[in-house]
């Protein structure tokens, strides 16, 4: 792997940058691998990386229907935080935040992790109760999260409108200072490059058409449009299409897939210092290093595999943004896009072994999987390598829905009374 640094950039500048090598190879699939990972998003590529790095398993293929990082990894609003309510979730997401903190150095790829603070706004008494519950639980779990008055919230984010005349005035906020953003494409590319360097084959434009199982049930390999690939371990990390892929192995997943939209404004000079989220008025916003305001909209009400949502959903987000930040009303939407998010009944992920021997699945991240990328990949690699879950993902089984052991972050955040 060519080293990336200011010095290497300078040295190669003299050669007109002609001597840079591909950041990853474009290999033909081999007939057999130790592990086949289906889905070359951040979670899948990261899984391959940690399999090679921490478990010495390098005979790995990551196969991808389209181009690597082209699904939700490259479509999300890049928010990173770990101030989740339940201890199981806090452990999972905080494991990830800790990996984010050194990921650029780890991968020799600047993923631009920017802990600029994630602030969540409370607009009702119910919000206050819920957010304070989070603050208390996070403190006991060692996760930073603090309660701010409206004035403190405005100090932290000067554009915020805290007028009492708002339809839903800001009554306070919770702030995780270690939360922030990162550069989404760089995460996929950085993991891809580092995994490739350790021998992992990343095979793009290779749709999987079937998962082969032996007479006794365990997995044997996958059929793809580019031929059969044998493997005794298959890991499915296919986000919005996980249920489709798992159906190929005869496993019905407790997932529903919805279109989720996001949009950016035209780029402007620094105008927004942090990340702000508001569940009550349905908006979240930050500003990218390029200067675009990055705004997340909601999911459509209906399941779909179409990577676009309804205009009214984007409108509802923008009216909320304009209420909270009325100076942005004259800004303009530059791009709007959609992704397909896979949601579980309790809105927490599944990172687990499956009823099929040799088949593993990592899915159900819903609207918030980006933040978990390194952590999820790290413990999923552990699960595959050891054929048993890591301590952190042990609760995130498929069977929890059968048994009723939910980790219901949505319920904990939502229900109004």
């Amino acid at each position: 792997m060519q080293n990336f640094s200011a010095l290497s950039l300078l040295r190669r500048a003299f050669g007109g940058h002609e001597s840079w090598q591909p950041q990853w190879r474009t290999p033909e699939p081999k007939p057999e691998y130790d592990v086949v990972i289906i889905g070359a998003g951040g979670h899948g590529l990261g899984t391959a990386y940690y399999l090679a790095k921490e478990h010495g398993i390098t005979n790995v293929a990551v196969i991808e229907r389209g181009w690597l990082g082209g699904g939700n990894t490259g479509r999300n609003t890049t928010i990173i935080r770990s101030n989740y309510l339940f201890s199981e979730s806090a452990a999972l997401y905080d494991h990830s935040v800790k990996l984010w903190e050194t990921l650029s150095q780890e991968l020799n790829y600047n993923v631009m992790y920017s802990p600029r603070g994630v602030m969540m706004l409370a607009h009702t008494i119910h919000d206050i109760q819920v957010f304070k519950r989070h603050v208390h639980a996070n403190r006991a779990n060692g996760v930073d999260n603090e309660w701010l008055t409206p004035e403190q919230a405005k100090d932290f984010c000067p554009p915020l409108n805290i007028s009492a005349k708002l339809r839903y005035p800001v009554l306070g906020a919770s702030l995780q200072r270690r939360g922030g953003t990162a550069r989404h494409d760089a995460v996929a590319w950085g993991f891809a490059r580092a995994a490739d360097a350790m021998g992992v084959d990343i095979i793009q434009n290779c749709p999987v058409t079937a998962i082969r199982r032996s007479a006794t049930g365990e997995v044997e390999g996958v059929e793809t449009e580019r031929g059969t690939i044998r493997a005794k371990k298959i890991a499915v990390v296919a986000a919005g299409h996980t249920s489709v892929v798992m159906n190929m192995a005869g496993v019905r997943m407790p997932l529903e897939s919805f279109p989720l939209q996001a949009l950016v404004s035209e780029p402007v000079k620094p105008a927004f210092p942090c990340v702000v989220m508001s569940n009550t008025v349905h908006a979240y916003i930050s500003q990218s290093d390029k200067g675009e305001l990055v705004i997340g909209a909601g999911t459509d009400a209906y399941v779909s595999y179409s990577q676009r949502g309804g205009l009214h959903v984007a409108q509802h987000t923008l009216d909320a943004i304009c209420e909270l930040f009325p100076m942005f009303r004259r800004m303009r939407m530059l791009r709007n896009w959609g992704g397909i998010v896979d949601t579980t009944p309790d809105r927490s992920p599944i990172i687990a072994k499956t009823p099929v021997p040799g088949l593993y699945v990592n899915c159900g991240w819903g609207t918030g999987g980006f933040k978990a990328t390194p952590g999820s990949a790290n413990i999923f690699a552990h699960t595959i390598a050891r054929d048993e879950p890591h301590r952190i993902n042990a609760p995130f089984t498929i069977e929890r829905f059968r048994d009723g052991v939910m980790i219901d972050e949505a319920a904990a955040a939502a229900v109004a009374h």
Partner: protein, 978 residues
């Protein structure tokens, strides 16, 4: 600076002079100018600086495809708009514009040092560096990058302008009012259908506006015919920015941006959401720049744009002109300029054998060099020469000029077609992606599907318009390529500083670097280099990117594919998309009929869903706690009244109504007698409590169901979902009656005494109207449903009257209660009273993870029922047993300590982090009645822990609490009967 305005011609009004300001300097233009044409006329070439290298930039295009000439437009302090294309700004008197992304000035910009450092700043350089030391990313590097990036400055004051929206239907929507679109609209209107014609420009005409005079009569007549037709809606200055599912289009109409003094009654923008039977896309084509070193110098512009500036605005792009082209159309510009008196030094045509038009040019005295490539340009802030070289090889020749016009051919504007999910195909003859398979009821006409030429476009548009009106299947005629064209880097030209995406400073060299580094998908190339991601969304750059990538990847363009076209076609104002939804209209404010009375009584309100609910009724000098203490004591001692109108109400009616409720709710309903009510619990499919409320049986086949305030709409949806999809055989119908009834709760030992004089036709004595009775009666002269229910533990009634009578009945009760010192109370007191009794609030004491048994209402579950929503889930292993959290009460040692809601519970407050958490405080109040604080909590295995002590870890130390039963007041229920 010398004027480049022609003496005559164009669509401008030379008699109306307009004064305007650019970077503080005063200039004049004329009515009909754009800011760009007026600046060009004044000899101002340098209009902006690029994103990354801060290179000097001028006008490239004449429309919304402009990548370079973007400015900040300021009307006043609060009306500042960044990143506006000078080419689309209609000039008005007193206009103020400023260049962007430069310091200290446009002419002398420190950021231009980046241009010198550009060898260190190739595509993606930021992924390779700024990693050491790690802490510097956030402290040093990122702030530097952020400050350097961005273009204009975001406004800092709230925008005072108004934005509105319209929803419309039509038979045919025609997008684009050029020759094809006008012809389509005329043909569709002729067929008698309703037509909407939208065009982004201020005038209809499209490419006709850039033609010399011959077509102007037809244009004027076409517009007049359409304007006279009442079934036709004409929308100039309106961009169709989005094409959505089921033939829905989003259109942004700019209503007042072109006016010097917008009248206050007009909105700034109007968002149209139009659903139509058929769409005709007549969106034209965009000219491609040529890619060669320094092709971004001010003074280098598209040949078609130059023709527009000349024929539409009466402005010459320069006095000595070089034309570089790969197609015929640029000759038209050269000929028109020559006719207008400019010196056209040479036309350099990439092709060996251009068409007849080359002879026409030669005949006009213009030198034509065929098989000649433009391989460079000179000059710094203004082009000074063009380097021309034979394609076959040989030394380039520098030809002096002050304007270099280029044309790489025309790219059909397939954006909306592709947005609609139509499939494109690459046409090698046209060097373009063209519409192939439609996904919507839509057809493309004219240049946007590769049909070029005025007459051809008119004919194509007319056929498309007629077929759209009839709705019949339509097979368009074959496309007519425009002769020639070139994609990518010019032959023999170096890739360095040969710009593809002008605004984002992406060069041909960057594209090649991306490919070299393994970015083989066009999406990777786009994201790695940011090509096509600037505010022009790649209108001028996408095809050239493909051209360069094709060479670098050694793949054909169809093998590479294309990036996804996404809305919006051009950027759309946030305010326009938000529209009316602002301030009080952001979301509807729902108010009960009693709201005005409460407001007059000085109530403080809280938001609960969309409702405003009276939170408490402070008397002079009282804060929340004082008011609530007074209200609570009054209810317990005598009587209080509470506006419960926000509770959701659903009328469940039909022969199978009881069976339906049996299946929905955990309770049994069959045996509930008419005139009786019952507390119902609704679970989700997963067995957790979703909602609760009292359900009264009004008749054998009629139930009055109440829900929580926030849950009303969701519960009705859920019921309809089950009724329509799971149990369609049930003969039941559901009606939301939330807003039909005003509901007043009268609670307290004197409740019966207060209402007795108001009730007619019903004996409400203790014996005849016991707890959990319901009956219809006349109440204060109004038809009513009276419930004998209590959410306070006191003797209680809830009277439902038609909403219009709500306030009158409230006032009647208040008057009747005066002798008993009745107090109106709000939601906070309601919460305290119910907490004293241990009654749960769904959503506060439960959070979607509590079963009925967890919440202490397991008694409500009819275990013998065959099925109900959630029954199967409740049988799961983890839904019972000692791991469950259960509702308990908590008492602090110090009666004055009120726990914080949301605070956590642990066994050992000194354990290491992360702690083992046992639950949390769900409700916590100071009880004036009891003289001490009370709290409800969900606690692991809570009922078995009653009598034990647990701890609440707080930032400044833990609080020990005793676990008790969740009923603090009148556990025997003796007070229910007053």
């Amino acid at each position: 600076m010398s004027s480049l305005r022609t003496a005559s011609g164009g669509r401008i009004d030379r008699t109306k002079t307009l004064r305007f300001y650019f970077d503080g300097r005063s200039h004049t233009g004329v009515q009909g100018d754009t800011l760009a044409s007026a600046l060009l006329a004044n000899g101002e070439y340098l209009l902006g600086r690029s994103f990354k290298y801060h290179r000097p930039r001028g006008v490239v295009a004449a429309g919304s495809d402009e990548p370079n000439a973007i400015v900040n437009l300021t009307r006043d302090a609060a009306r500042s708009t960044p990143n506006v294309r000078a080419t689309t700004i209609e000039l008005y008197e007193g206009l103020h514009a400023e260049s962007q992304n430069r310091f200290p000035s446009l002419q002398v910009d420190i950021g231009a040092i980046n241009d010198l450092l550009s060898p260190l700043l190739p595509a993606g350089f930021y992924y390779k560096t700024f990693k050491w030391p790690a802490s510097w990313w956030q402290r040093v590097y990122e702030p530097l990058i952020r400050a350097a990036a961005g273009l204009g400055r975001a406004p800092t004051l709230p925008d005072p302008d108004r934005y509105v929206g319209r929803w419309a239907h039509a038979d045919v929507l025609v997008v684009g009012a050029g020759p094809a679109g006008l012809s389509a609209a005329l043909a569709a209107a002729d067929a008698g259908v309703r037509v909407v014609l939208a065009d982004e420009q201020s005038e209809f005409g499209g490419s006709l506006l850039s033609e010399p005079t011959e077509m102007q009569t037809w244009l004027a007549e076409a517009i007049a015919t359409l304007a006279a037709n009442p079934r036709v809606t004409l929308l100039p200055r309106t961009t169709a920015f989005g094409y959505f599912a089921h033939n829905m289009a989003g259109l942004a109409e700019r209503v007042t941006d072109h006016l010097a003094n917008p009248p206050p009654h007009l909105p700034r923008e109007r968002l149209w959401q139009i659903r139509v039977k058929q769409v005709v896309l007549a969106t034209g084509a965009l000219e491609r720049p040529l890619v060669f070193p320094n092709n971004d110098r001010p003074g280098i512009m598209l040949a078609g744009a130059a023709r527009t500036y000349l024929n539409r605005y009466g402005v010459l792009p320069g006095k000595r002109i070089v034309v570089a082209t790969a197609t015929d159309s640029a000759y038209r510009a050269a000929l028109d300029l020559r006719a207008a008196g400019a010196d056209v030094a040479v036309i350099a045509d990439l092709r060996e054998a251009p068409g007849e038009i080359a002879d026409e040019a030669r005949a006009a005295g213009i030198a034509v060099r065929t098989a000649t490539s433009v391989v460079g340009a000179g000059g710094l802030q203004h082009v000074a020469w063009a380097a021309l070289a034979p394609v076959a090889g040989g030394a380039p020749e520098a030809v002096p000029c002050d304007a270099l016009l280029m044309s790489g051919g025309w790219t059909p504007a397939v954006h909306l077609f592709s947005q609609s999910r139509g499939k494109l195909r690459f046409d090698a003859d046209a060097s373009a992606y063209l519409p192939d398979v439609s996904a919507e009821h839509e057809r493309s006409a004219g240049a946007c599907r590769g049909v070029f030429g005025l007459a051809e476009a008119q004919g194509d548009g007319a056929a498309a318009g007629a077929s759209a009106a009839s709705g019949k299947p339509y097979t368009p005629s074959a496309a007519t390529p425009n002769g020639g064209g070139w994609l990518g880097l010019m032959p023999n030209a170096p890739a360095k500083k040969a710009f593809i995406d002008f605004q984002n400073d992406v060069t041909a060299k960057d594209i090649k670097l991306a490919v070299r580094e393994g970015m083989r998908s066009i999406e990777h190339i786009k994201r790695y280099t940011t090509t096509g991601m600037a505010t022009d969304q790649g209108k001028t750059s996408n095809m050239n990117t493909l051209g360069v990538a094709s060479g670098a990847l050694d793949a054909t363009i169809p093998q590479i594919g294309h990036t996804t076209f996404r809305m919006p076609y051009t950027p759309v104002t946030f305010g326009g998309l938000a529209g009316f939804s602002r301030g009080d209209l952001f979301e509807p404010i729902r108010m009960t009929p009693i709201h005005p009375w409460a407001a007059e009584a000085g109530a403080v309100f809280e938001d609960v869903g969309q409702w405003k609910r009276a939170h408490y009724f402070p008397k002079r000098g009282e804060d929340l706690h004082a008011a609530v203490a007074r209200e609570c004591l009054a209810v317990r001692a005598s009587v209080g009244m509470f506006d419960a109108s926000t509770l959701g109400k659903i009328e469940v009616v039909g022969p199978d109504a009881a069976e339906f409720l049996n299946r929905m709710y955990v309770n049994a309903w069959t045996k509930l007698g008419v005139g009786r009510c019952r507390y119902g619990i609704l679970c989700r499919e997963d067995g957790f409590v979703r909602d609760d409320g009292v359900v009264g049986r009004i008749a054998q086949d009629r139930f009055h169901v109440t829900t929580t305030t926030g849950g009303a709409a969701g519960v009705l949806n859920m019921m309809e979902d089950y009724l329509q999809t799971e149990w369609p055989e049930l003969d039941v119908w559901l009606t939301s009656t939330t807003e039909q009834w005003a509901v007043i709760a009268i609670q307290g030992p004197k409740a019966r005494a207060v209402i007795a004089p108001l009730v007619e036709g019903l004996d409400i004595s203790r014996e005849k109207f016991p707890h959990m009775a319901v009956a219809e009666c006349t109440f204060a002269g109004v038809p009513a449903r009276l419930f004998r229910v209590s959410f306070s533990g006191e003797l209680g009634f809830e009277v439902n009257v038609p909403a219009d009578y709500g306030r009158a009945v409230w006032e009647a009760i208040y008057a009747a209660g005066r002798p008993h010192n009745i107090v109106p109370y709000g939601t906070e007191t309601m919460h305290v009273l119910r907490a004293e009794k241990g009654f749960i609030i769904v959503g506060q004491d439960t959070d979607g993870t509590a079963t009925p048994d967890d919440a202490g209402v397991g008694w409500a579950v009819a275990k013998s029922k065959r099925d109900f929503v959630g029954k199967r889930s409740l049988a799961r292993a983890a839904m019972t047993g000692p791991s469950r959290k259960q509702l308990v009460g908590l008492l602090t040692a110090d009666p004055k300590t009120v726990l914080e809601e949301g605070a956590q519970l642990v066994d050992d407050p000194h354990q290491a982090v992360p702690m083992t958490l046992l639950g949390h405080v769900t409700s916590s109040y100071y009880s004036a009645t009891l003289g001490h604080s009370i709290a409800l909590a969900m606690l692991v295995n809570g009922r078995a822990r009653i009598g034990q002590t647990v701890h609440v870890p707080m930032p400044n130390g833990a609080i020990a609490v005793r676990v008790v039963k969740p009923v603090f007041y009148d556990p025997e229920g003796a007070r229910l009967d007053g």
